[in-house]
């Protein structure tokens, strides 16, 4: 009986490997804060004329979209049209720029349009770390009371827009 133990162990290892191979795990790192309140933070303004961002602003009663982005990030430029579309649909969009400079940001906004009601200047990824984001771009749908409802990792594609709009509608 003992002699069949190695074969049994091997079969178990094989099963693990086979499952991993045929149902590849999603390697994306998701935030564990979804469903919880936005953590407290305050970041100064990056551009004159555009306010900075405080977490209180995300809990002012209106559902919003929080967009974490940067001017040096290539997919962020790709999602600019979708953000403009969302803004046109009446969604308030708050931005936090990671490790950015005013000049680069001005160029970025000039190229893709400016959907942001505010742009916070986060030079040390503090907001990113506080909210559980691990890269740019990421977007968070936040309810009026500050609860995080949805995290979208990566750039927003055209077919992601309806889902985001629906989530925002439901939050109203």
């Amino acid at each position: 009986m003992r002699l069949w133990l190695p074969l049994a162990v091997f079969v178990a290892v094989l099963a693990i490997i086979a499952v991993a191979l045929y149902r590849p795990a999603d390697r994306t790192v998701y935030s564990a804060m979804v469903g919880k309140r936005v953590p407290d933070f305050t970041v100064p303004a990056l551009l004159p004329g555009k306010p900075g961002l405080a977490s209180a602003r995300l809990a002012d009663g209106k559902p919003k979209l929080l967009n974490i982005f940067a001017s040096w990030c290539v997919p962020c430029a790709a999602e600019a049209p979708q953000l403009m579309a969302l803004k046109a649909a009446g969604v308030p969009i708050e931005g936090v720029a990671i490790r950015d400079t005013p000049e680069a940001m001005r160029d970025f906004l000039a190229r893709g349009g400016d959907p942001y009601a505010a742009i916070g200047d986060d030079k040390t990824s503090a907001v990113q770390l506080a909210i559980g984001s691990s890269g740019v771009p990421e977007s968070f749908v936040i309810a009026g009371d500050g609860t995080i409802l949805l995290q979208h990792v990566g750039d927003i594609r055209a077919d992601d827009v309806p889902a985001i709009l629906a989530k925002l509608e439901a939050a109203k």
Binding site: S31, M33, W72, C73, V74, P75, R99, T124, S125, V136
Partner: protein
């Protein structure tokens, strides 16, 4: 000094992202002045996973985000926070993925008990083989 103005793909950066050209956060690559605090910070940093790398701790990574996480750890240790609290804060944000030290829970119990179980099996195998030998 020459500024490294060449945008570069850092080995550990995730695909499709370029990197910012800003210098790293203070305390990302500078030690705390109190050696005891720095030791605590270092001990914590080797157990935290870099979120944008292919399997490195934040203590071993050149990625910018790893630098920001190191800065966060050092800042908080300097402010007097306990390493366990800092780790729990990060786990609350990223899940157990961010720590290389899996917490003992229902799902990880088999992992932590494994060495003991294996030794027990080993002793059983050995004793059975000696016993048979004697007889």
């Amino acid at each position: 000094m020459r500024r490294l103005a060449i945008p570069a793909l850092l080995l550990a950066a995730a695909p499709a992202f370029a990197d910012s050209t800003l210098p790293s956060a203070p305390l990302a690559n500078t030690q705390l002045s109190d050696p005891a605090q720095e030791a605590k910070a270092q001990a914590l940093m080797v157990t935290l996973r870099c979120l944008v790398c292919q399997g490195q701790s934040i203590a071993d990574s050149d990625a910018e985000m790893a630098g920001d996480m190191r800065a966060l750890v050092r800042q908080r240790i300097r402010a007097g926070e306990q390493p366990v609290a800092i780790r729990d804060w990060l786990v609350a944000r990223y899940g157990d993925y961010v720590t290389y030290d899996p917490p003992f829970g229902l799902l990880t119990a088999p992992l932590w008990i494994a060495p003991l179980v294996l030794i027990a099996i080993g002793v059983w195998l050995a004793r059975a083989s000696f016993r048979r030998r004697r007889g």
